[in-house]
């Protein structure tokens, strides 16, 4: 807010691939009391993919539960097996993973090209360089873990599609960002971004497939307190950059899970205008949280759609984790980046968010 407003500047740079760009002075319509809100409409892990995948996955893609099961328990070897030593043993591995040597070949994404942000300000031997070479030292080791798992690869991977679809569909995973202290959407050296969980559906156009600015979302102050985080940062030439210490993002999938992802040292880098905010969320994700969110939300059946083996991914997460060492020196978090898109929305904060009337100590007649 210390920075003088530069409302007169145009977002010329934002017009490329950024539908709905408008002259900046129209933003006054949606910036109210220095505040503008957006709602998440698209979320995908940032994976660098070549057309045939051979550059980043020269050995091909990984095997999944179905393929691994066939290797472990061949149907044609004439052996009679029990459910306990087959199916239940594999499910045990998912819910009680270990760090024993991987018995299958896990194919990590290869190469030096990747997407994301330089989180630690260093250029390390395992870091990536952006495809255009403009940014070095990119930290995105999660890409090495899931980049050659078909389920995560766009546009056909089941998780790639349905993670986003269910986020759009279910209010549980509605993510709002509210910028306050905004003098200008072009340059402002002191803004605050606060995340909330929203409680309403997304506003679509008549086709139902495109999300429109101008909707309204109620911020969830009753059940969604753990999803409220404050980021500090600035806007430079229409690019918002903000950072926080920690952020819990609500996630859900098809079958009633109400999970979250726990990000450490997260930062948003978003090109913003009065209608949209698009760019990247990056930081470190707690590896145990990442693993269990995946296992709880996506069943073995659904993981099989795209050769996604939880036990193998667990070992790779521990091998490639690159931050937040525990007392024994083992890293507990892994760098990541996600492509994100938001549209503008008006965020309502209910005057009185009624807590559940029933006190915790009431007799538990339910």
């Amino acid at each position: 807010m210390k920075h003088a407003a530069k409302i007169g500047a145009l977002f010329a740079a934002m017009t490329v691939g950024f539908a709905g760009a408008a002259v900046a002075d129209e933003s006054a319509n949606v910036i109210r009391n220095g505040t503008i809100g957006y709602v998440l409409t698209d979320y995908h892990w940032a994976l660098y993919q070549t057309k045939d995948g051979k550059a980043e996955c020269p050995q091909g893609f990984n095997d999944g539960p179905r393929e691994q099961f066939k290797i472990l328990f061949p149907a044609d070897d004439g052996k009679k097996r029990t459910l306990l030593e087959t199916q239940l043993a594999r499910e045990s591995q998912i819910w009680h993973p270990d760090l024993k040597p991987e018995i299958f070949t896990f194919k990590e994404a290869q190469g030096k090209t990747g997407l994301g942000m330089n989180l630690d300000g260093k250029v390390g031997p395992n870091d990536f360089t952006s495809p255009d070479g403009s940014e070095k030292g990119i930290d995105n080791q999660l890409y090495r873990v899931i980049g050659c798992v078909a389920n995560y690869r766009g546009p056909d991977g089941t998780l790639y599609h349905f993670n986003n679809k269910f986020m759009q569909q279910h209010e549980y995973a509605r993510v709002l960002i509210e910028l306050t202290g905004v003098d200008s959407l072009v340059n402002d050296n002191d803004v605050t971004l606060t995340t909330y969980r929203g409680r309403d559906g997304l506003l679509t156009d008549a086709t139902g497939n495109s999300f429109m600015p101008g909707g309204t979302q109620r911020a969830d102050h009753k059940w969604g307190k753990e999803f409220i985080s404050r980021f500090k940062g600035k806007i430079v030439d229409g690019v918002l950059t903000v950072q926080a210490a920690e952020y819990h993002q609500p996630t859900t999938w098809a079958f009633e899970d109400v999970t979250d992802q726990w990000f450490k040292d997260p930062r948003f880098q978003l090109k913003i205008n009065q209608d949209r905010a698009e760019g990247m969320l990056a930081g470190y994700v707690d590896i145990e949280n990442f693993y269990l969110q995946m296992a709880r939300a996506v069943s073995t059946h659904h993981q099989s759609y795209g050769q996604q083996s939880s036990p193998s991914i667990y070992r790779a997460l521990h091998k490639l984790a690159d931050a937040y060492p525990d007392k024994d020196g083992h890293n507990t978090a892994i760098s990541f980046a996600a492509d994100v898109k938001f549209v503008q929305t008006f965020i309502e904060h209910p005057a009185v968010e009624t807590a559940a009337k029933e006190a915790d100590t009431r007799p538990a007649r339910h």
Binding site: L83, W95, R199, W223, V258, R296, S299, R362, R365
Partner: protein, 449 residues
Amino acid sequence: MRNLGKLVGFVAGLSLAAGGAYAAEKRLMEDYVKSPMPPGFQVIVTELEGPVFADAKGKTLYKWPIKSIRNGDVGEQKNKPTCDDTVYKVNAGLMSPYPGGFTLPEVETRPSCLQVWPAVYATAEDKPVGKWTIVDRKDGKKQWAYDGFALYTSVLDEVPGDTRGGTRRKEGGDSPAYREPVSPAPAVPAQFGVYSVAKGRFLATSIGYSVYTYDKDTATKSACTGSCLNEWAPMLAAENAVALGDWAVIERSPGVKQWTYRKKPLYTRIADEKFRSYEGGDIPGWHNVFTQTEPAAPKGFTVQDTRAGQVLADKNGRTLYIYNCGDDAIDELACDNPNSPQAYRFAICGGGDPDVCNKTFPYVIAEAGAKSENRAWTPVDINPKTGKFAKPGEAGALHVWAYRGRPVYLFGNDKKPGDVSGDAWGEFNGHRNGFKAFWLRDDFRTNAG
């Protein structure tokens, strides 16, 4: 709205429970539409499921509707009972990605479907009555059916009014093809419906929107007028609607009638977007409506707020969990109770090790001498090494709380009240062989019904 039964007292016979430890609760129970039944059958208003049909001994009747699961259909079509005396030895491969043909746990003692679900046989003299019909079984016997579905009882039900064999609550995706209690229609006007949810039998509109009552109303007059009507819509009654049982009609203004239930005018909330919402009930003075509520949880249990709604918790605020399990044989027998094989649960909560299991999902210990007011909640003795019911006086047995005859659990990694980190833990998001939090309210998904 014809043939409304009067409000009935709670099921008789609870005092027959083992040890006579259970006293019948005095509370309002759901009314139902009375219709002709064949001799030997009755309706019992149960504490968990409301009115259900029962046999002459008071055993609840169940059906097994067909359900499509991942690799095929299980359950029964109308007029085609399939539950028989076959003892299945291997899994059927119904649940992707795992194939069939593997020997089932505890196969030496695995019962047949009929041993667990005794068929309700008809005699040569029996005659169909209304929806009650008689179907032919493949073994040549005759079996009673209701609305076409063959009828069974459950070996898990011990006293009249028990519904431990199954529930009418909507189960989550990829859950087994559960058996359901068979019931008469609830006695509600056509504009209304009753839904089984975690908190009881929930009164709503016929398509599922919540109905509410208002503290300032009386039995004969609505206080919701003027601006109140911007937020609340009276449940209007037809000109010829008449009072019957719990239901009555008031005239809001000349010619405009409104339904009342148990002496309270009913409304919907205009802002409600979701079916069976509790949001209106959060507004001071307004309440959701139940035809009957769930039986009380054990003394000291608490209700905790979570990231999505509310859960039942222990006295320390730690979330309770329910274990769900149906096996993968063609008859889909339950594996979620201590009488059934524990290998499924041990695999999920302990990697096969009961000791690890008891740390990951520990039992909820009941104090010595703990008693329950109802049959929904009972203290039971469990051998923690086997997961089975302990013998009387067995060394090392744990005295734990059970719901519907199945132990409830905590999750070892929940750190504080309201944590639900063990929810959806297990095969198919905890619905198939795994754990779900004891949801009472879920404002976002359908975990609470």
